[in-house]
Symmetry: none
Subunit: 109 residues, 2 copies
DNA sequence: CAGTCACGCAACCATTGGTTGCATAGTTGA
DNA sequence: TCAACTATGCAACCAATGGTTGCGTGACTG
């Protein structure tokens, strides 16, 4: 579980102490320590508070998902995708490849 | 809390019974009933399983967030990013633009 | 109307998240 | 150098709650 790591990360990014978080989330400092050490997990209500406080998605907190990783997940579990979905997923790789091919063709000219 | 509603929604969308979910998630049928009635919340590990099984984001499950809302949130809260973060975020757009510029330059040749 | 399916309710139990209190390491300043 | 303070981790305890088993009920169905 990556959650503890992520919470600590976001906290330190803001130069907050665990005690600082205490006030913002209304829990004891120990709870926060536990969360960060993966010795316990915050309950759902507090998870929402945390994601709101840090302005990050729950997926980013819990799964450590970045946008990119998320696409991979979707891809791995999508049983079938139509043409449009394919484009929506892979335009970012098709685009530069197309660009490179174009430049190569121009070069041949 | 919207979670129960969302789970039920995704389950019924697939015409699954609670018992069907039982096998896929390795919990008793009662637990699932409780989740859907907001009489209990699945623990984090199972939440991840659920989001993977249904192929939806955790935010969508827990907050009821749509993709759109999610993007707005993410975008609106990025406070500052250093050079590297910028690259990490935007390489996918810089890449194809570079490709297009290259092809254009080759064309001028 | 017996059998079955899908689901909710109630009671019990075990897990675990949260709290209080104490210990430790690092830092600061007289 | 050593008290004082800060930031964090560890241990023990307790209450909350998630999960399970067992039972009840309404809706179909042959």
């Amino acid at each position: 579980m990556i959650l503890g790591q992520r919470i600590k990360e976001e906290r330190e990014k803001r130069n907050w102490t665990q005690t600082d978080l205490t006030e913002k989330l209304n829990v004891s400092r120990q709870s926060i320590s536990k969360w960060e050490l993966d010795s316990a997990y915050p309950d759902i209500e507090r998870l929402i508070q945390i994601s709101d406080l840090f302005n990050v998605t729950l997926d980013s907190l819990i799964k450590g998902d970045s946008e990119l990783q998320r696409h991979i997940t979707v891809k791995g579990t999508d049983d079938h995708m139509n043409g449009w979905e394919f484009w929506a997923h892979y335009w970012w790789i098709i685009f530069p490849i197309a660009g490179l091919i174009m430049s190569f063709l121009s070069y041949l000219n």
